[in-house]
Amino acid sequence: MSHELRTPLNAILGFNEMLLGEVYGAVPKDMQEPLTDIQTSGKHLLRLINNVLDLAKIEAGRMELALGDYSVHDTVGSVHATLRLLAADKGLEFVASVPDDIPLACGDAGRITQCLMNLAGNSLKFTKEGRVEIAVAQRNGTLTYRVSDTGIGIPPEKIGNLFTEFKQTDATIASEYGGTGLGLSISKKFVEMHGGRIWVESEVGKGSAFIFEIPLRVNS
């Protein structure tokens, strides 16, 4: 199923990227914007498909973690490196802080990366000025990942719904900020598969912090 859905979209994105890259010849100025819009929308659709497929797999009980040793430093570092430019474009301070003495962790590094990308991506999206921070702490065999921002914040009555599929706090937010509405529910499932929990602390107008705790070493 996943292959059938993604293959044609991959081709659409590939051909369009080559059009934009002028592989087929010069692109007239007034066509650059619509081609860029195709690329942006196509990538959005791809993310949506990926998320829907992940969620379907989780719900069918077919998602398994690929557990292994991983470096918390490297994991956070790769998320920071991937999103750094996005933060710079918006003029936001973007910091990652991981204590030097964190031992080797065991878990599914790919899925933890996905959770951090979702959370930090959200923070960058909903923050117009100020800073976004990824911070990690370790205590008594528990790892705490905390992604905090100085963004728009979330009203208390909306927090309960946040981790439910397709529940961005309102439709206008979705149209202004984009997003699939699935990132948080997928992140929650991945955290729970690691035997952990995820929650949010937020104040409207001041910012939000998304925090998840998982065992430093998940037993297979």
Partner: protein, 122 residues
């Protein structure tokens, strides 16, 4: 002129790579399934092989393993294009002897960059 063999059953993906290489110095040879890919590689002895994972008749992983066992292709750079990220194919590809892998969906420009790194154009 350096030759690249692309083993891929999907015509759209072959078209993308064809277009991507059109304005380069590389010469492209194609095969449509794993068995044909192995045969073609032994016949033309390409300078680099792009190998899709999901192929009819023989998977790209098995084809890679087979090519590694042949003296003529034991050292040829093989870039495996894995089905989709996080499926575990990356590890399998490396274990089979692939030089590297690229996960779909990939950007054609990134793929060209990887090719140029492994096999300088001139």
């Amino acid at each position: 002129m350096k030759t690249i063999l692309y083993v891929e059953d999907n015509e759209m993906n072959r078209k993308i790579v064809r277009a991507m290489l059109k304005n380069t110095q590389y010469q492209l040879v194609e095969a449509f399934d794993g068995e044909a890919g192995v045969a073609k590689a032994l016949e033309v002895k390409p300078d680099l092989i792009l190998m899709d994972v999901q192929l009819p008749k023989m998977s790209g992983i098995d084809a890679t393993r087979k090519l590694r066992a042949e003296a003529a292709t034991a050292q040829t750079p093989i870039l495996v294009i894995t089905s989709f990220a996080l499926s575990g194919d990356e590890q399998k590809a490396l274990e089979a002897g692939a030089t590297g892998y690229l996960a779909k969906p990939y950007s054609p420009m990134d793929l060209l960059g990887r090719i140029r790194k492994l096999l300088p154009e001139t």
